[in-house]
Subunit: 241 residues, 2 copies
């Protein structure tokens, strides 16, 4: 039993666990840094990875505000990449190399506890993705990392990016469930807060090294979450799997 | 090597195999008959299963013509069920029993070759569903039968029912592929013909007992298909898995 567990209130049993992906399931900082370094040995790969990721939320806001039409994350990643390459003064990459680098997001490795944890959680719950990543990206990533999803749900299905309520409510609607029968699992308190506002249960997962070893993240518990777990193995313990 | 194999022309290697579900992957006739019989021991379960399934295409046509708004298969199955129960003079079922019977489509068993065949095909290709069944139904079915999909695609994602081109073209668009890099696998020549008209490769699978042992189905090859295979194991042989 994890002492950081905070059951907020007596809860209905969730039927579906929906997982945030970037940072929660996969380690984007290491994966992106490694691939950047392979193509650009002289660049500060840590800073490059952080800059690429930092462009993610603003790009999605441009879509959700209507400034950009509906755009998949693969295409947003490419738009941001062009800016970051310019900012870092990198001009030697061919279009093919940029295309390859852009799909580094498809090849991110899961954190060490993920496959074993999901395999246990899958025995009692429907486990699905709920990511702003597009279906293609999430499918390739699952194949790359051996992630045993029951189903891949994405912003692409709902034509809206988290934290838009259409995404959280969309999971409940797809599975014909009350919102409290769905639990979002994520390493980001803002994502969990938005899910909770829609009536979902929430589980916070500590990923202190999400931003790299140089920038440990605050992983303090928020008692508003239904559960708080160090990793997916602890979450499986807490949920009785 | 299957002598019924008909490679129509030199082909590009497909990246994604998209599978029709009802009849191709799962044996709906046996599953539905068994569950009907459990609730209604005196009914002609074979005739009931055939009647329920016969309502499927007309119901989808009502949606695609605009007569009905967008409706999930779970809800269409329930509409048809009410008519079939009336036609068969069955009046003793409670709402809960009807609800349970309606989800018999979630609990259909795969044909015996399916799990082993998909497991082999998954090593070389992305394997996904392309079914008119809704995501919830397909996810429950996959869990029930241990179907190792990389991704569940459904008419629900494309808001159109096969044979609408939006479904076949939608798979290619989701995976950012040319249509010839996608292959539809199905036990129905009309589904395959519609996919071919959109540029997909096609593989026909023989399911002679789809309509029950009393009504063996014509499983003659159509040379227009890229491949013709007795079952998924033969398809895996043909595709070098």
């Amino acid at each position: 039993m994890n002492l950081l567990n905070h059951p907020a209130s007596p809860q209905v049993t969730p039927q579906v666990l929906a997982f945030d992906i970037f940072g929660t399931v996969v380690d984007w900082h290491s994966g992106i840094s490694r691939e950047v370094l392979a193509l650009c040995p002289d660049v500060d790969a840590n800073a490059f990875a952080l800059a690429w990721r930092a462009g993610y939320q603003p790009a999605m806001r441009r879509v959700m505000s209507g400034e950009l039409g509906w755009t998949l994350i693969d295409d947003l990643h490419r738009l941001i990449l062009e800016d970051v390459l310019k900012d870092f003064g990198i001009t030697h990459l061919s279009d093919g190399q940029k295309q390859h680098l852009n799909t580094a997001w498809h090849r991110l490795d899961p954190w060490p506890d993920v496959v074993a944890g999901l395999t246990r959680l899958k025995t009692r719950f429907v486990i699905c993705t709920l990511s702003n990543g597009n279906i293609r990206l999430l499918t390739h990533m699952a194949k790359h990392g051996g992630l045993p999803w029951d189903c891949i749900l994405s912003a692409e299905v709902f034509k809206a990016y988290k934290p838009d309520p259409a995404t959280y409510l969309g999971v409940a609607r797809v599975f014909d469930l009350a919102t409290a029968q769905v639990m979002l699992v994520a390493a980001h308190q803002d994502d969990l807060a938005a899910a909770r506002a829609c009536g979902l249960q929430t589980a916070y997962i500590e990923r202190p090294l999400e931003m790299g070893a140089g920038q440990p993240k605050d992983v303090s518990p928020d008692p508003a979450n239904t559960w708080h777990a160090r990793d997916f193995l602890v979450l499986a313990d807490l949920l009785g799997c």
